[in-house]
């Protein structure tokens, strides 16, 4: 049994990849994680690159000299890597180069729900789209072969529901580690400019023409159509799974023609045309944009005598225009088109309504012992003491985003990796009359915060950059980054200090504080804001999850804190203002209680309690 992301990793091993790179991001993180753990055994260079652009640049360079490469990222990571992608598609590669990208329809854990298939069409390189773990293994292996054959990078795209699903996977044999690198100077191919680009662009189009010719022999894109079937369903990835189950559950197997699209680019023109001619209604089920739906309309013009079928989908409103699809959405649309009624039990519906009314909300919270709680509590204290009792704090991508939610509500935005610093500078240039902050994590700072920091120094932006350094890439599962001194395989390597970078970037005020010392961090924030010009505070404290894990491994038990009930007056500062998940409110006693199994003994709540009612359990 393998999770789809591990099946993709396995395919890389079977394909004999020599260089595998990536940057962590849900839902794609598990691929490089898995490869990192077997890098030595496979003779593979595996790295968590500083960002996706760097990742794609280095792995594709390997593919250019004849060593198979792979780069893995989430959908928004592809924006960062798009700069190299849009040139790599012109120069092509020599050895197989696969870009595995994980999309997040519904934006469950992302800042948007963009559809990576559009990138495959924009760059004009092939893209495969598996719908299960087994298919992911098969298609990723095939992607390496195809890439080598047509000399273009090939995408494997999964969406969250596929990336994080698992199933029984039949494995294939493992290839000998990658071939030997051969460096050949070929200026017309790799020095892209002017006349060379025209030739390369034409070459690329020819390569894609051969890909289209190759397509039927790959036996992908299964079409099932019988005479008399007036309704057709075209679907890919997870959306195909929902469609197949809906067709089965609605008893429509004999009535509905079905095309499972596995090549998001190039799309299977001939099969799509056949459906346009033979059916009356075509429901296109895809995530997220109406890419195939629109393509059908394009194809319709190429049909002699025009199409027979009406194309329906997200654009026509037969399916919702945004967000992730589900079985329910697809089944109801399909039932509607097929004229099947889905019966509902009224009594059951009322019970379910009653349940829905009392389900307690459960949003994201900081883990007990999280250093960010100390950092943001200090920031909250500072905000309260300002003349307008307000600050502007541009946020970024990582665990510290949780400070946007109760009880902190002090992280004002999240746009894209590294955006916080330049956005804060922008507020300063626009003369926003508030203390201006940017809060950004350690891994995010390395990823794309550095250029903006140099920019802030050059233009003397009056901003305080609060680097929430928890010594790991926590949100995506504790991957190493340049500040951790560890490689993707967990080996020791050079450790790069954020404070050194900040100083080298021209920042005069650079201070490191202990994130678990609230007043110390508060005082540093106060003096940083008074500094005329940009300042950097590195609020450092180890991620609580790591601390907990390390303690478990060492066999030590963290010393929990407790509330001395006679001292607690029920002011609720610790539950309502600070809100550690280990502190609960006992409404009978009207006092706070610390749950010892959750408390990791960070000591932050002891500093928060003004009545000194919170003390280490051991002392009392």
């Amino acid at each position: 049994m393998l999770i789809t992301n591990h099946a993709i990793a396995r395919a890389a091993i079977e394909a004999g990849v020599g260089v595998a790179t990536g940057y962590p991001g849900t839902p794609a993180s598990e691929v490089i994680e898995a490869l990192g753990s077997v890098a030595d055994a496979c003779g593979m260079h595996v790295e968590w690159a500083v960002n996706e652009k760097v990742a794609l640049e280095s792995a594709s360079a390997a593919a250019i000299v004849g060593v198979r490469g792979m780069t893995v990222m989430k959908h928004v990571g592809l924006n960062v890597a798009s700069d190299i992608l849009m040139v790599l598609c012109l120069t092509g590669v020599k050895a197989g180069m696969v870009i595995a990208v994980g999309d997040d329809p519904g934006a469950w854990v992302s800042q948007n729900e963009q559809d990576s298939r559009l990138y495959a069409h924009m760059a004009d390189v092939p893209m495969f789209e598996p719908s299960s773990a087994q298919e992911a293994l098969k298609m990723t292996r095939l992607a390496f072969d195809i890439s080598e054959r047509i000399q273009l990078p090939v995408f494997v795209r999964t969406t969250m529901k596929v990336s994080h699903s698992s199933g029984i996977v039949r494995l294939g044999p493992i290839a000998k580690p990658s071939r030997k690198a051969e460096y050949v100077r070929d200026i017309p191919r790799y020095k892209t400019q002017d006349v060379y680009v025209q030739a390369l662009h034409e070459w690329q189009h020819n390569q894609m023409k051969s890909m289209r010719k190759l397509l039927p022999s790959l036996k992908m894109n299964k079409l099932s159509i019988k005479p008399g079937q007036k309704l057709g369903v075209v679907a890919s990835g997870a959306a195909y799974n929902y469609s197949a189950e809906a067709v089965h559950n609605l008893g429509l197997q004999d009535k509905v023609a079905m095309l499972k699209v596995e090549t998001a680019h190039p799309l299977p023109d001939e099969k799509m045309k056949l459906l346009l001619q033979r059916t009356r209604k075509l429901l296109v089920v895809e995530e997220v944009e109406p890419l195939m739906e629109n393509y059908f309309r394009q194809l319709a013009y190429e049909l002699p005598g025009g199409p027979c079928a009406t194309v329906l989908g997200r654009r026509t409103g037969d399916l919702p225009g945004t967000s992730e699809l589900s079985y329910e959405i697809v089944a109801s649309s399909l039932a509607n088109l097929a004229g099947v009624r889905i019966s509902r039990d009224k009594n059951e519906a009322s019970v379910r309504d009653a349940i829905a009314k009392v389900v307690p909300p459960r949003g994201l919270t900081f883990c007990p012992g999280c250093p960010h709680m100390g950092t943001f509590y200090a920031l909250k204290l500072f905000a309260r003491k300002t003349s307008k009792r307000k600050i502007a704090n541009m946020g970024d991508i990582g665990c510290y985003e949780i400070a946007a939610f109760p009880p902190f509500e002090i992280n004002d935005s999240s746009f894209c990796m590294g955006a916080s610093i330049a956005q804060a500078s922008g507020l300063s240039y626009a003369k926003v009359d508030l203390p201006i902050f940017a809060s950004i994590g350690d891994s995010t700072f390395f990823h794309s915060g550095i250029p903006a920091l140099i920019d802030a120094a050059l233009n003397n932006a009056h901003v305080c950059v609060l680097i929430c350094d928890n010594e790991t890439t926590a949100m995506t599962g504790h991957q190493p980054h340049p500040g951790t001194g560890l490689t993707a395989s967990g080996k020791a390597t050079k450790k790069i200090m954020i404070e050194d970078i900040a100083k080298a970037a021209g920042i005069e005020f650079v201070e490191v504080t202990n994130a678990f010392d609230i007043m110390g961090t508060y005082r540093t924030i106060d003096s940083a804001v008074k500094h005329a010009g940009p300042s950097v505070i590195i609020s450092r404290g180890r991620c609580a999850e790591l601390t907990r894990r390390e303690a478990r491994r060492a066999g030590t038990i963290p010393e929990p804190y407790m509330v001395e009930l006679e001292k607690c007056r029920g002011c609720m500062v610790c539950t309502k203002e600070f809100g550690c998940a280990a502190i609960t409110w006992n409404s009978d006693m009207k006092k706070a209680i610390i749950e010892p199994s959750l408390c990791v003994g960070c000591g932050l709540c002891e500093q928060v309690c003004m009545l000194r009612a919170i003390t280490p359990l051991r002392k009392s």
Partner: protein, 197 residues
Amino acid sequence: MKKKLDLVIAGVGGQGNILLSRMVGQAASRAGMEVRISEAFGSAQRGGAVFSNVRLGKSYSAVIPLGKADALLALEPGEALRQSRFLTRNGLAVLNSRSLMPVEVLAGKATYPPIEIIRDLMRQLTSNLYMIDAAALAEQAGDARTANTVMLGALDGCQILPFQSDFLRESMISSVPSKMVEANLKAFDLGRASVLA
């Protein structure tokens, strides 16, 4: 025993929900069944609501349609309410009765229903309901960390899983640290006995 089973496991991030779903999946795979699992995790694991779908036998998708799950195993009662949307009418529901309060409730911005209300509502949805004090049984097994194994044992005791108990025991044993095997086996049996009684 049915040849197919759709199971939803619900809990709070950090409770070990995913590990449990993989144990059930491994057991089914050892028994020669097809398995698909879908996991809702990622940043959702930071104390948020987490659930996984386990589909045993032939299926089209790793995601269980709403109202079609044969069984719901809930590690937290409030999460049982949330994920009851998956459970079929009169499907099996096995609940840990120990509540974990969400921060919104602690901060006084939301309320958490009393356990009696949770029980009553769940009972209106299904007559096939078991409430287990997993923490108490885990302590009885000698280790508070075995609460999930108690729940796994309780699920097994309901005799709904389409494979023999030993497969589940084996996959549980291979998933826990070797020095905790004994306590986990005890927890499994205590959980099992709690629903058989």
